[in-house]
Symmetry: C2
């Protein structure tokens, strides 16, 4: 463990692992502080074009205000007779999966004392649009299979790099959201 600690201090992937380990220790003693609520609101603009706004969230037992809000637009592409003003909603989900796994790779690498040089993820997801068009009720609306490929340059063996990705996948929120069912309750007005 001592050797490992000294290795950790020599690499810098920009992740504050000390703080994260401290948070883990604190939350083990106060699990109610681990209950988070993430939020987004979405405004219809025109056609299939919309703008989501992301700001405050709840966590560590309190409202967490950011000093800014983020906006994320979405639209449908021209082959769906739309204006292609922004990525499609399903491409946003893919970027959520990509960024979640990538952040995890950086955090795990920092924890394991592995200096990263570059991380690139390439994602492709199959979709049979007979589902969303209502042509065939046996076809699901969402993705068939998603393939994620990581190309990682780091000061580590091939096996150690594979283990980084495996650990990131094991702890990824978005990987879990996509691979397992979640209840969604929708209300109106």
């Amino acid at each position: 463990m001592t050797t490992n600690t000294s290795t950790v201090t020599t690499v810098d992937n920009g992740v504050n692992v000390t703080a994260l380990l401290g948070a883990r220790e604190a939350l083990q003693k106060a699990p109610e502080a681990a209950q988070f609520k993430w939020r987004a609101s979405c405004e219809w603009l025109k056609g299939t074009h919309s703008r989501s706004t992301i700001g405050n969230f709840f966590g560590l037992g309190a409202e967490q205000s950011r000093n800014k809000t983020f906006t994320v637009e979405a639209d449908h592409p021209q082959v769906f007779a739309a204006e292609d003003n922004a990525p499609t909603p399903v491409e946003l989900v893919l970027s959520g999966l990509a960024s979640c796994l990538t952040a995890g790779v950086a955090a795990v690498a920092q924890r394991r004392g592995i200096q990263l040089h570059s991380v690139k993820a390439s994602l492709e997801a199959d979709m049979d649009i007979q589902g969303i068009l209502g042509i065939d009720d046996d076809v699901r609306n969402g993705f068939g299979t998603i393939r994620v490929h990581f190309d990682i340059r780091a000061d580590a063996s091939e096996d150690d790099i594979k283990a980084l990705v495996a650990q990131s996948q094991k702890r990824s929120a978005v990987f879990d959201i996509i691979t397992n069912p979640t209840n969604v309750f929708v209300t109106v007005n």
Copy 2:
């Protein structure tokens, strides 16, 4: 049906329903053209900060090139000892769900001859971060429950507005992705 068709032409939500119905008819005769592949690539920037790029996709039997690429950044917030440069990956997923349901509401309203005035979706998702922190293996990494609330102003009865949202939900790709499991295969280097 004749009455319905004439009603449709008097409303304008910016959705080309005629083209969509034509596409549905064409794809019924050529289901292989309905096989789409959506893509995103993601580049690690620093720490938990990354940038996804969204461009071409495959569909209608051919590569579909856009005349632009979209970028979507993600990061972790300051309470996770990160820089909060962009929304979190899970907030991107929420915005994907919001925008998918919102686009569906606009399309279904156009099809049903309902003029929309405003559509706003508010989403909140519970997450127990004991999962992603590895404190408790019985806690999932992703969301507990997601609540979506729509506030819609339209020239329609309350029941008709509720039916719009129900139909959008029934045909939403992202709603399906989140509420049902999808296989994700991850490879490295």
